[in-house]
Symmetry: C2
Subunit: 221 residues, 2 copies
């Protein structure tokens, strides 16, 4: 779908207006912030961008795809894993960044996108690859570092660990949004990793673990 332009592969006709892309995405963000996902239409986005509706359709297949791109360009850069000498602390600090985003505008967007993805397999894949997978890969690398540093036992199930940690955040976002204070995020974190997370919690991990299905989990990321 995406058209890659190289010197070997020159498009023949009138080139696409490069400004149109950003105009459309910015218009989408403006309208989304004002009216929410459901109330926003492709017609409205095109009008707000000063562009014909057909022009939008030439670049994205539907509204969800436009919003997905707008969301990624605006939000994704702001929630990278912070640096910290203690690896596990990097997880906690990033959870706090994510929670802050969830509390504000981006939270509404990601809610809408995940919701819409339940009905649109293509969007679901886009959310997964563009939003979930990258961060999850980074998190797994950090967990590996934490194990090497002795902050976590080496038999930790990284998938289950991340599902419980971030699952708690998404559960709040999508299902039970009452309060999401920094303290509560910390308590989510502490519930899984223990109150002093940078030290291995012998109480939780000292037994031999036999979780036979854990390695059978298939992941794309």
């Amino acid at each position: 779908m995406k058209r890659v332009i190289t010197q070997m592969n020159l498009p023949k006709g009138r080139p696409r207006d490069q400004h149109a892309d950003t105009k459309i995405l910015e218009a989408a963000l403006r309208l989304l912030e004002r009216h929410g996902f459901r109330a926003v239409t492709l017609e409205g986005i095109a009008e707000e961008a000063g562009v014909a509706r057909t022009t939008v359709y030439r670049r994205w297949p539907n509204k969800a795809a436009v919003v997905m791109d707008a969301f990624l360009t605006q939000v994704a850069p702001g929630i990278a894993f912070p640096e910290h000498p203690v690896a596990v602390e990097r997880l906690r600090l990033q959870m706090q960044l994510l929670a802050r985003a969830f509390r504000q505008g981006p939270g509404l967007l990601i809610r809408s996108l995940i919701a819409e993805a339940q009905f649109d397999e293509e969007l679901r894949a886009a959310v997964h690859h563009g939003w979930i997978a990258k961060r999850r890969a980074s998190a797994k690398a950090i967990i590996a570092d934490a194990i090497l540093a002795g902050e976590l036992p080496n038999d930790v199930n990284a998938d289950a660990l991340l599902d419980t940690l971030y699952g708690g955040l998404y559960y709040w976002l999508l299902i039970d949004h009452e309060v999401l204070t920094e303290a509560y995020v910390d308590s989510l974190f502490a519930t899984v990793l223990g109150p002093s997370s940078h030290m291995a919690q012998s109480k939780r991990f000292d037994c031999d673990r036999d979780v036979p299905g854990a390695t059978s989990r298939i992941r794309s990321g």
Copy 2:
């Protein structure tokens, strides 16, 4: 507005067809199983039920409300907390019940409902009260029992504990559905509560007493 019928408050005119309710809900379930939430329309439900479309609109405000009721009447009875002498085991066994439901037809329904609830505040409240809140109250009571029995430390944060446990399940359901084996559910559980929390024998007792009939429903006329 809910219409409460008592002996003091008799409706004047022609009474509503009592069979229509169940006919509509059953028709909705049949169609949902066959075609999914998005493809199902109120028109189709009414036709399948052998009922006029206006009759459906007199009882529910929109499709999501009908589906919500159909879902609750079918699914909710099947996932009550099983009995077990070890309190914590009751949590684990119920997570397995829920996971089994998530893997099958009901999983698709609850996905659709939670998704739709992101755009419909009324439906969101209905999902919360009819689906989430009751089970969460039961779970908290069980946690209290577990603390009394010495299975959990008495300073445990029940909310955070449940958010991480069930958050992991819903995270799988809504965002990252690859495989959800029993073993993986156990590893989610073990990640939060430690492998030592009585994962030995799982005797299963049927116990449907958690769902006392009609739950809170959103209705129009």
